[in-house]
């Protein structure tokens, strides 16, 4: 649930913690830190996120845009979280295999500054 208090110039976001874990919430709201000051509080079975604009006010138009963006971002970060966690072992395996058993046949990579492309 996402609500907006005009008087307090504050958006409050209540997120069900059985759907969105703390990793998702932190990663999602990290990106809001340029314009907003973010406070994240863990409650019983939900997480409360307080979003305050660092400068200026949050008007109705901005709130409506933000509401849509937050919902979408939460879904995107949940999707990313699933990929990260489901693929953790295979990713580790790829990296471990990549850096084990280095052969001598590597091609020479010539380091260049932008001037000698």
């Amino acid at each position: 649930m996402i609500t907006y208090s005009k008087e307090r110039n504050l958006i409050t976001c209540l997120v069900d913690s059985s759907i969105y874990n703390m990793d998702i919430i932190f990663k999602c709201f990290y990106w809001y830190g340029k314009l907003f000051s973010i406070e994240i509080c863990k409650k019983e079975d939900f997480v409360e996120i307080l979003i305050e604009k660092k400068e200026g006010i949050i008007d109705e138009v901005m709130f409506n845009k933000l509401r849509l963006k937050i919902k979408q971002d939460l879904i995107d970060f949940k999707t990313r979280d699933i990929v990260t966690k489901e693929t953790k072992s295979v990713r580790e395996l790829i990296i471990a295999k990549a850096f084990s058993n280095l052969s001598d046949e590597e091609e020479d990579i010539i380091f260049t500054s932008p001037v000698d492309r």
């Binding site: 990290y30 879904i75 295979v90 790829i94 990579i109 010539i110 001037v115």
Partner: protein, 482 residues
């Protein structure tokens, strides 16, 4: 299910497993999926979510595309895992080679007075800012200790041609020692060209030395930025360029531009001036916040949004020129394209993870110290020695693998940085801990307000949108650049 094996979930009519990939929206309708080795698929928004929720029809062509591009697998451990690991190793193979670019700052003196001088040049008469011969010898010894078979020895300044005798001394010594070391060595002199003469050009030609100069665009822009002590420099640079072109092949001469606030309004004029001067490529380079550039804010400070706008207009113009039959390349785009469209890594240190500090580049400075990058020595001129590795006379292992080197390298991997770790563009981007440190106070940085992040994210997604759109022949043009 074995521990550690990912979940197999049933899709509409079959099973599949996820492989590591990241995704990002690139416009209102499309998102890009990018896997661990940089292969990408551009799809409708919501596709990543469908993949994760097993909503992909296993009989569809798209399912086949996802399998063949390593986004999903029918097996928990894909049969071609070794191939994927090999591709990953190739992408990161720049690490094996270790330091390839060795910058020698033989002097900090310069005969120019550029307002954006990022190295904080010194008066051209003050020889206190020249490297001692003893330190040149020791630096060359350190350079030869690098495991890299192919190395670039780049002379920077100040204006290195003020000490051409020391450049010659260095190269002759390297040639002599290389009879034992047998490395592939490229030489580059970064010069404003105003001091070139027959002797210098003949030496460059005989030793296959690449000349890199600075050209900021047409006369009015160049002269606004790059003054000599006796007046404007454009005429002398262009005359020197023409003189040099008669003696050495043009492909051994290149130029770099620096985008000042004034330049932002003249992308087309800048490109035209490069073409007029015979160049077929340009590196559209934003100004960096070091040295005098950081002090002279009125001429040099601008919002990164403005640079990105300038870059896009310039790139559009370059694409138009290519469509009209003029082969002309934007170098930063070409570097990113190599990362997007080929399985190979690039040597450009600003677009690497782990970062190019020490790994890709080091600087042997006139002051007798070794620095982790060009920016590190620029910072030292403002009294901040955070990225100084030690003395040129120190032991190679202590300098390149010691505590200081470890500390500097700690926050140099995008894979482990907040914001970057889940960014789809990670494979195409690069870590810049020194820029983070200078602009945001620590080497970790903070992506939401990072200019480096904003610039790279905007430029990479713009290039991807151009590839996807392709209405102006971008695919063909871009492929001809790499």
């Amino acid at each position: 299910m074995k521990k550690g094996i990912p979940n197999k979930l049933k899709s509409s009519n079959g099973y599949y497993y996820l492989l590591p990939f990241r995704f990002e929206r690139i416009n209102q309708e499309k998102e890009i999926l990018i896997n661990e080795v940089g292969d990408y698929l551009i799809c409708d928004i919501g596709t990543a979510s469908k993949i994760v929720n097993r909503q992909i029809d296993v009989k569809s062509n798209f399912f086949g595309e996802l399998i063949s591009n390593y986004f999903i697998s029918k097996e928990p451990i894909p049969a071609l895992l070794n191939l994927l690991a090999n591709r990953y190793r190739t992408k990161k193979s720049f690490i094996d080679n270790f330091t390839g670019l060795h910058i020698f700052v033989l002097t900090l003196r310069c005969n120019h007075l550029c307002h954006y001088c990022q190295v904080s040049r010194k008066n051209e008469k003050n020889e206190l800012f020249d490297m001692q011969y003893e330190n040149i010898d020791l630096s060359i010894n350190l350079m030869f200790k690098t495991p890299s078979v192919a190395i670039t020895m780049e002379f920077q300044g100040g204006e290195p041609l003020l000490v051409f005798n020391k450049i010659k001394y260095s190269i002759e010594r390297v040639k002599k020692l290389n009879k034992i070391h047998n490395k592939k060595i490229n030489y580059v002199i970064c010069t404003n060209l105003t001091l070139v003469n027959d002797e210098i050009l003949t030496y460059c030609l005989d030793n296959d030395i690449l000349i890199s100069t600075s050209l900021d665009g047409p006369k009015n822009i160049h002269d606004e930025n790059r003054l000599r002590s006796n007046g404007p420099s454009y005429e002398s640079v262009v005359n020197a360029l023409n003189f040099a072109k008669k003696r050495i092949p043009l492909d051994r001469i290149s130029a770099l531009m620096t985008t000042t606030r004034m330049a932002l309004n003249h992308p087309k004029e800048i490109i035209d001036s490069y073409i007029e001067n015979g160049f077929n490529h340009i590196f559209l380079r934003a100004i960096s916040p070091y040295g005098f550039a950081a002090k002279n804010k009125n001429k040099n400070e601008y919002e990164t949004e403005k640079f990105v706008e300038f870059f896009k207009i310039a790139l559009d113009y370059i694409i138009k020129l290519n469509n009209e039959g003029v082969y002309f390349v934007e170098d930063y785009t070409a570097l990113i394209l190599k990362k997007i469209l080929t399985p190979f890594p690039i040597g450009f240190v600003d677009l690497q993870s782990p970062s190019g500090l020490i790994n890709g580049v080091v600087v042997y400075n006139y002051d007798g110290y070794v620095y982790a990058s060009d920016e590190a020595r620029m910072l030292a001129e403002s009294g901040d020695y955070s990225f100084r590795l030690g003395k040129i006379s120190d032991n190679y292992n202590d300098l390149f693998y010691g505590e200081k080197a470890k500390e500097i390298s700690e926050n140099g991997s995008l894979e482990a940085l907040p914001g970057c770790s889940e960014c789809a563009f990670q494979v195409y981007c690069g870590a810049d801990p020194i820029r983070n440190y200078v602009s945001q106070g620590d080497t970790v940085g903070y992506r939401p307000t990072s200019n480096h992040c904003f610039k790279n994210k905007s430029i990479i997604s713009h290039i991807i949108n151009l590839i996807n759109d392709g209405r102006n022949n971008e695919n063909e043009i871009f492929r001809s650049w790499i």
